[in-house]
């Protein structure tokens, strides 16, 4: 069915549909495919979210502080964040740790759900996004109330976005192909 859908998209594109239409349809096709796979395997998706959450909690409690201190020493020792106040400079090691940690968790989720890897990593990333929304709203309200909190909001948005990108990259890194002869990404490339 997938092959026919890609053929239809290419046919429509070659009949004069715009690039925006094409990519919108591709994104919708990916979203619908993930939604269908997740709703067909709800329990597995719940397990993927729980596994990711537990690993994130364990990693945070065991590694976050030592890594943070290590990176803090490195960042200041190498002069990487020279000239910035630590109150602002802490975002660099924090962002690196979050991105690496999220990538590791994405990898674990992908490896532990081999039968439906992309969909389960996506499910965890969506759960991560939803779990972060209350904090985002709180910071947004604070920033609207007082511009002093704007930096906190920006720092959170950067780190939040990096953690989701990290999760997806980690999931991609842990992705093992079953017997796919065709590259999924190249299937959606624009026709000549």
């Amino acid at each position: 069915m997938n092959d026919c859908l890609i053929g239809d998209l290419m046919e429509e594109y070659s009949n004069g549909r715009s690039n925006a239409w094409y990519w919108k349809q591709v994104l919708m096709a990916v979203a619908i495919a993930f939604y269908r796979e997740i709703s067909a395997h709800k329990l597995l998706a719940v397990r993927a979210v729980l596994v990711g959450y537990v690993f994130a909690e364990v990693a945070c409690s065991m590694l976050e502080l030592p890594l943070f201190n290590l990176l803090k020493r490195f960042a200041f020792g190498s002069g990487l964040v020279a000239g910035t106040r630590w109150a602002h400079g802490y975002i660099y090691p924090w962002a690196v740790i979050t991105c690496l940690g999220a990538a590791g968790i994405g990898w674990v989720v992908a490896r532990l759900h081999r039968s439906h890897q992309p969909a389960m990593v996506f499910a965890y990333a969506v759960a991560q996004l939803l779990l972060g929304l209350p904090e985002l709203c709180r910071l947004l309200v604070n920033a609207l109330d007082d511009t002093r909190f704007l930096f906190s909001l920006l720092a959170f948005v950067v780190v939040f976005a990096l953690s989701i990108v990290g999760t997806l990259l980690g999931g991609f890194w842990g992705y093992t192909r079953k017997s796919a002869p065709q590259d999924q990404a190249s299937q959606f490339s624009l026709p000549d």
Binding site: I6, D8, Q25, M28
Partner: protein, 114 residues
């Protein structure tokens, strides 16, 4: 009391897809089906959602499909032609009858409502 038969009614989009492929007859594949719905409703249709619906209808036994020719404009990929099965046609007629029964009376506004 008469036992009511348990059955799944066609959803709104499912009915649109069924009617479109019945109108298109021999030429019913993804592109014309979604175009038909777009032209009739004036709303953009995601090809993927049309395919998802067609796949669901096929699982229910309401449509059947077969692969067609491969063309260069499709990057050498085949078309999948869909056709309503006998069960599918009966289901559409039943839905039409049910909707007509429900509409009956709705179209006649009461005098004091105007």
């Amino acid at each position: 009391m008469e036992q009511m038969a348990k059955r799944d009614y066609l959803g709104n989009f499912e009915l649109m897809v069924m009617l479109s492929l019945m109108r298109l007859d021999e030429n019913a594949y993804g592109v014309p089906i979604s175009r038909e719905i777009e032209e009739t409703t004036g709303r953009e249709v995601a090809l993927a959602s049309a395919y998802a619906t067609l796949e669901r209808l096929e699982v229910k036994g309401l449509v059947s499909s077969e692969l067609g020719e491969r063309t260069s404009e499709r990057g050498g990929r085949a078309k999948r032609y869909f056709r309503a099965t006998g069960k599918g046609l009966r289901e559409v007629r039943e839905t039409q009858r049910t909707l007509q029964k429900l509409w009956h009376g709705v179209l006649r506004p009461k005098a004091n409502a105007i």
